[in-house]
Amino acid sequence: MTENAPIDVTAKGGALAAAAAGRFDALPVYKPEIECAPREHIEAVQLAKLQETVAYAYERVPYYRAKMDEMGVGPADIQTLADVRKLPFTDKAVLRDTFPFGLFAVPLSEIRELHSSSGTTGKPVVVGYTDDDMAMWSECIARLVQMAGVVPGDVAQMAFGYGMFTGGFGLHYGLQRLGCAMIPAGSGNTERHIQMIEDYGTTVLVATPSYAMHICEVGEQMGYDWETSPLRVGLFGGEPCPPGLKAEIERRMHIVCTDNYGLTEVMGPGVSGECLAERYQQHIAEDHFLWEVVDPETGEPVGEGEVGELVLTPLCKQGIPVLRYCTHDLTAVHTGPCACGRTLARMDKVRSRSDDMLIIRGTNVFPSQIEDVLTGIEEVTPHYHIVVRTKNGMDELIVETELRPEAFSDSFETMDALRRRIAEKLKATLLVAPTVRLVEPGGIERAVGKAKHVDDQRAK
């Protein structure tokens, strides 16, 4: 391939070929004036927006005004980006305690859409987006899908569920914003997905990586030829994407796949996205999110490029102006230039957390929630063991719990009814339907010290 030979990144295999040849000029950038701006410019934008955001939160959200007054800090104290450290942290408990609308900075009449994710106890975390928030969210998505070589005119098929989960609508709006045709197929019915790819000439698939793998396998079993398929790009999310799984999907489906990072509490998907130059990292939309990486124990910043907990402050978000949200995701952030041409900082893909949260079918699940539910069921002990595994491309949550001797009945019907009742109670709290297994009294290992409750068997 000669230096300046044209590379068509909209042809199958084109984006990966361009990246392999170092021809990042052939790949699209949605908003180069910020994505490829000098660091000083990015930081100037961040500071102006941070000052605006803090003043807005102080003015409109009683929780933040009280918290900041208590700490003796006001909007005028934000003179540099480092001054963000004077502000209070926000964690999931704050969103839960102010449920449903306590942190909203605008009346519901200005909210266009509500989404939620599960909370650490029974109540979900609910977030609201104004028109401007929706525009900002769509733009973040448009940027990251272009990193994978998606262009206006692509036909994108959604294999996430829609509903309250932010993944489905987030990607939907962002792809439309870029100028793609959306096929809102939703999750499930794998054979129909493959039929639609063929019938409608789908070029982009949005899915969890494990479901994409399932679609790949079902297609192979049906005799579908992925090499001649119109499908060109896989956009993954909803769960961590193991590099090995991604490489396998790229090879077998003959597509290019990227994944992105985000969380409902600060927006949803699109906080950062993978480019084709640094495939273990993701560019943060820094003009919309101020990042910090802190020691999870002390809350103090770690050194440049060191691993710590990611703390995010969305900039100029109107519906809910969250300050310094503690993600509990462990990562390191790098600010050097990237071969793709972008200057936006890159975070390492999140592989672990500072707490024990699990992401199951895109939903956040805390082992403590499971313990709380089991404590309220008198037929079982609060001892439990969680197994998470992949079954037919979907996460499966198995909760093992111990039967109390006195709750035993010589009837399969009664025992099965108990099992179903426990599963229903867990589902009501977790928003994920588990499989419940009853275990003999004493059958769950009593771990010494920090109990090992979770066996996550999914590919890492």
């Binding site: 039967l403 001797p405 035993f408 010589d410 275990v439 003999e440 059958g443």
Partner: protein
Amino acid sequence: MTVSQISVFANSRPGHMSRVLALFEEAGVSVRGFSAADTGEYGILRFVVDKPEEALAALQQAGCACTVTPVLCLRLDDVPGELSRVMGVLARVGINVVYSYSMISTYIVLSCTDAERARELLAEEPVEMISQADIARIVAERTGKEA
């Protein structure tokens, strides 16, 4: 007149049934009939024993989930139509038999996860294995005798 059946909750895993049997042995309890049914993950072991109180005490002592259920116990003559005759009595009045098993464990039936390996192992043991032909032959011989 009923007998006291001992039911035990057990996970469907190797060693769980033999643990219960070891407890019986220690307590000097003799199993006169049993059934083990599973749902794939857990099962209910059911026993008719000579000393139900001792059996229950031993199980409870060991922390097992167990219970006593009164069940009917019948002795049938080993002639064609006997099982059908007894079940018919209950069927005619609309009584459902939830489960049933035969007692005095001289002939037992096992369904194992690795049937071939189990067969090889037991073939090495001083225990007689019965084939389908044996069953047919036993019945045929007796029918011949009666004829």
